[in-house]
Symmetry: C2
Subunit: 149 residues, 2 copies
DNA sequence: TCTGGATATTTCATGGTGTCAAGTAACTGG
DNA sequence: CCAGTTACTTGACACCATGAAATATCCAGA
């Protein structure tokens, strides 16, 4: 919890502002890409997550940083559209794995492809610049390198 | 837009992934800062916007990229808490300006200060690195430098 | 002046997201 | 077998967001 209360220098403020723009644009493009597949942003995120590997409901909630009861409804809606199915976990009858159906996988794939935020703005940078950007972002995020949930 | 359909190189994918992390962290911190002032993310965004200058409802909708009918409810809620008030526009009796109250201004100020995403992660970078990051982000966003709505 | 079309805001209905509290089923340790 | 814990679901509620329809106001032209 930063105790910071002194005003940061103008350069920092400028960078923060730029990051805000990146965030805004990222979201906009993400929502648009999701809408192209008749999905909301959170639904697209969930489907993308499951397309990597099926997950128990509780695990999904941790990854998406929300309450498990929320996941129930989201999976319900995706299940109703035939994009996701619930499977029993082999070793624990309490847990249910949410897994994408064939169509869900296709949708996730299409989603990833139509997510042009990847290429579009970054194509303005040379490879060396992308490398530099990667390193700077890594350093920025560095102190929280979490992979497992 | 983008016709891009070839898979981007691994470096680009890595950078995109990092940007995704930045976006996630930005959002998380923003929501937390808002919650510290008993506001939701959208409410905090709206209040921050109005703290710069009072705006007509329609203008707010354009800035926040949502429907005007949505703004009505958001301003209603902030107004009910005494953070925002509606004023008549001097030259057009149809339009109403949403303006922060004194308390709204105080809240917006406190919000800005508690928004540590500014300082915290960027403090890991030297000034030269922040400069480099600024230039890279500017180039990334460059082709859409819009300011007026 | 009157009238028709455009604009600003609101209202209503609807659906998705998110929280919290309570409930059920199943696992775990004694 | 029993108590406590864990996983998921349900129900009530608030907020965000959209779209269609209503109201009030502006504006341009006859």
């Amino acid at each position: 919890m930063g105790t910071g209360n002194t005003t940061p220098d103008p350069l920092t403020l400028e960078v923060v502002d730029l990051i805000g723009s990146v965030v805004a644009r990222y979201h906009q493009e993400y929502e648009e890409a999701a809408a192209r597949h008749a999905l909301t942003g959170p639904q697209a995120r969930l489907l993308g997550l499951l397309s990597l590997e099926p997950l128990p409901m509780r695990r999904i909630a941790q990854r998406l940083k929300c309450e498990p009861s929320n996941i129930t409804g989201m999976v319900d809606r995706l299940e109703a559209r035939g994009l996701v199915e619930r499977r029993p976990a082999p070793d624990d009858r309490r847990v249910k794995l949410a897994a994408p159906t064939e169509e869900g996988l296709r949708t996730a794939r299409g989603l990833r492809e139509s997510l042009d935020f990847a290429r579009e703005p970054l194509s303005a940078l040379t490879e060396a610049e992308r490398l530099a950007l990667r390193d700077l972002l890594q350093r920025m995020l560095g102190d929280e390198g979490e992979n497992a949930g």
